[in-house]
Amino acid sequence: SGGDSEGGGAGDAIVAETAFNLKTIDPHRQFEFTGSTIDNAIYQTALEFEDGDLTKPTDGLCSYEMSDNDKKMTLTLKQKDAKFSNGDPVTVDDIVFSFKRLQGIEGNPSFFLDGVTVKKVDDETIELISKNPNPALPYILPNSSIGIVNAKVVKENEGTTDENDGAEQFLNQNSQGSGPYKVETYDADSKVVLTANEHYNGPAPKFSKVVLRNVSAETQVTDIQSGQADVSFDLSSDQVETLDKNAVQISSLPSTRSIYIFNNTDEEIGGPTADPNFRKAVASALDYEKILDLAGENGQRMASPVPNEFNGAVPKDQAPDRDLDRAKKLLDKAGYDGEAVPFHYASDQAVNGMDIAQLAQTIQAQLKEAGIKLSLKPAPSATQLDGFRAAEQPMGIGTWGADYPDPSNYNVFVPGGSVAERVNWAEGDNPEIDKLAAAATKAEGDDRGPAYAELFQATTETGIWVPLVQPVSTVVVSNRIESYVSNADVTFDFAKAE
């Protein structure tokens, strides 16, 4: 009975597979990979990235203009023919409501518009006023979490712009966007089916149906190979290697995610990791080439947590190299006595096909060569994250996915930032870095890049973060799809597949 499967009973449906990381597709709450992949297809945003180039925000539903002091952004409704999936036209009110809802409901992505006041000027214009200079705003608005919803319908279904909002369930089952697709069925555990939005103002997608299945990476391998699936998101480099290259197309892009080791700065918690010499020894003891090998082809070194393609990234050639002698000297200096350091990581996680559990074992083996002993503490990601958030873990593997492609998104790694808090690194601990941080925030225009680069170089120097690798985002597409668009912004654009 499986025999007829190749015959492509698929027809005008495109089958995509990923291991779900999905809590909701209410855009204003959605903050995970799977949710944003779906919302990208459902919702339009005020601004977009041109052809996936993350350095160039361009017009989306609106065009924009930034004031000189980066405090005021003026949005002008541009696509007047845009319509929601129920046929209602997209209006300024919808956009204002969407922004305000995002801010008010205190969901995970609410911080995107922190300190921004949204003001409707007239039926074509919106003003976003930021308290502080906010040069990142154009980079933020294309995020699918800031998707524009049909205000009227959402309000009718308990949607509000404060914490009392109750529209999440409704939005999960009934998308209210103006993008190329709308939700047909939503099952957060197994699969989400999208169908074409006939009111979409762009070209109608070739595939009128998208089936996104929750499937583990190992099953994705067999499914893509056997024609059961058209798109696979989570294959590791090893798995991609084994595929029959004549049957599939492979798109590899630099990932926007960073993988790093964190070291707790609190002596009580971290023990040796509180000593800068120990941390630097860790950085010198790692065999980055082997780690790169795990990430597969096109994996990149990182000299800071900021991905290499981003403004403010530290050039990757400045990344440290393995130097065991140096590591040993540093360890002597640190007075490290070989005690085992608990090393925490999520045992069930893979980041762009990089298995964190394997990475942890590799790191353990490499550090052992320098005399550093790690005792691995795997845990399911939920539990691991709990401990990390509570700032209780001495050392471990962290990952960060860019919320928006601007260096300011990486301020979390700077003393006082939310991630820095988790290693007990507070403002004032490094006055030098505080100064650099202030300078970076103040910098404008072309100065921002270098200012941030300097800041992140300094933070990385402390060894509190040891950037490991920038993985590759690999999307495997079956040959049934003749052309497709896959870029850093959307990973895979269902609407443009043919």
């Binding site: 009975s1 499986g2 025999g3 499967s5 009973g9 698929a10 027809g11 449906a13 089958v15 597979e17 999905l22 809590k23 909701t24 903050f31 205190e106 969901g107 995970n108 609410s110 911080f111 914490e163 999440e168 369930q169 999960n172 099952d187 957060a188 555990d189 197994s190 699969k191 089936v211 299945r213 929750n214 499937v215 583990s216 099953t219 067999t222 499914d223 190979q225 056997s226 059961q228 699936a229 069930d348 399911p380 990601s381 939920a382 539990t383 709990d386 958030r389 939310s418």
Partner: protein, 356 residues
């Protein structure tokens, strides 16, 4: 041993209600007690889990705000003493409210409604296979005791219960789907297939009801391998058990008596031996169901079978408390009900229990 009927009656104070009714009532009572116990266990178990549900529900940002955290705690009743929380939980439960998943915000009951039929379909497939194959093999093995056939069946059944399910699943998937394409792949249907209109939630049944033959064959193709894998252990179990059960029966006088009546061997085997052996076997089938549910967790993982096992696994690894509680409760109840039904069947099949 045998007292003449009149003597018995003279000294007998008969029960106030009919014995069969009493039997059923007692079984219902025990089952309800057990289900209540399951609620206590799930509740306590999840309270032992060292994770803060509030953090999971609120997400990063809100969890950092003590005020919101406190509010949420209050809203969820988490500031109450444990015993109050338990009664709230029980109260909700009685209204069919199993809570909402921390991860997906979907009501647990709704999700279970989705995944449960998947597991049932797999479970029924497996139990049918194991009952039919296991019983026949066991019978054959017992009838041919100490022959090559018997030794072969015993050895195979021992190997059957020794194989790690997940490994067999993976090997089976690789060989039968990936290499040979004899069966359907992961999931319950090919991805682009639309599930049949939901009546029972079992794709094979629903597709037949809707007259969608293509969907039916597809669903069956997907069902066959996982249920075989899952059945492997229970086949071994039932083969062994029915063999020893039949051997016990074969020795009994009534079998010799039946043979002495010159009945056809077939009649002796099926009417006398098998029927006698069946009663203990029914009990084991009930128990086997339990091991089936265990095996399902691993099997479902390999076959991306979106059933209760996968749901439970996700719940456990993300420490999604309402999900864990819900699944624990549902599985506990299913198990208890299955065994209740087994007891009832037992009661009805065996006249000695029926009329005491």
């Amino acid at each position: 041993m045998s007292v003449s009927a009149t003597d018995q009656q003279k000294n007998l104070r008969p029960p106030k209600i009919h014995p069969l009714l009493r039997f059923i009532l007692v079984r219902i009572g025990i089952s309800i007690l057990l289900i209540w116990g399951v609620t206590v266990v799930t509740f306590l178990m999840t309270n032992l889990v060292p994770t803060d549900p509030v953090a999971a529900i609120l997400g990063d940002r809100a969890a950092a705000d003590p005020e919101i955290v406190a509010q949420t705690r209050e809203r969820l009743g988490l500031d109450q003493p444990l015993i109050v929380q338990y009664f709230t939980y029980l109260g909700n439960l009685l209204q069919g409210d199993l809570g909402v998943s921390n991860q997906t915000r979907v009501p647990v009951l709704e999700s279970i409604g989705q995944v449960f039929p998947a597991s049932i379909e797999l479970g029924i497939g497996a139990i049918l296979l194991s009952v039919i194959i296991g019983l026949l093999l066991g019978l054959l093995s017992a009838l041919k005791q100490n022959t090559i056939v018997d030794h072969a069946i015993r050895t195979l059944s021992l190997i059957g219960i020794s194989a790690p399910t997940f490994w067999i699943a993976a090997v089976g998937y690789f060989v039968f789907f990936f290499k040979l394409r004899l069966v359907g792949g992961a999931g319950r249907l090919d991805p682009w297939m639309t599930p049949p209109p939901r009546v029972t939630g079992l794709y094979t049944v629903d597709s037949l009801l809707a007259g969608q033959m293509a969907t039916f064959t597809n669903a069956l193709g997907h069902l066959i391998l996982p249920s075989c894998v899952l059945a492997l252990f229970t086949i071994g179990l039932l083969t062994r058990f029915s063999r020893s059960s039949v051997l016990d029966i074969i020795k009994l006088d009534y079998v010799t008596a039946a043979k002495a009546k010159g009945l056809a061997p077939r009649t002796v085997v099926f009417k006398y031996i098998f029927r006698g052996a069946l009663v203990p076997i029914i009990t084991v089938v009930g128990l086997a169901f339990g091991s089936l549910l265990s095996g399902a967790v691993l099997t479902e993982t390999v076959f991306a079978w979106n059933g209760l096992g996968q749901y439970a696994y996700r719940g456990a690894t993300t420490l999604d408390l309402p999900v864990i509680m819900g699944v624990g409760l549902v599985i506990g109840i299913v198990y208890i009900i299955v065994n209740f039904v087994v007891d009832l069947i037992y009661g009805f099949v065996d006249p000695r229990v029926r009329v005491r």
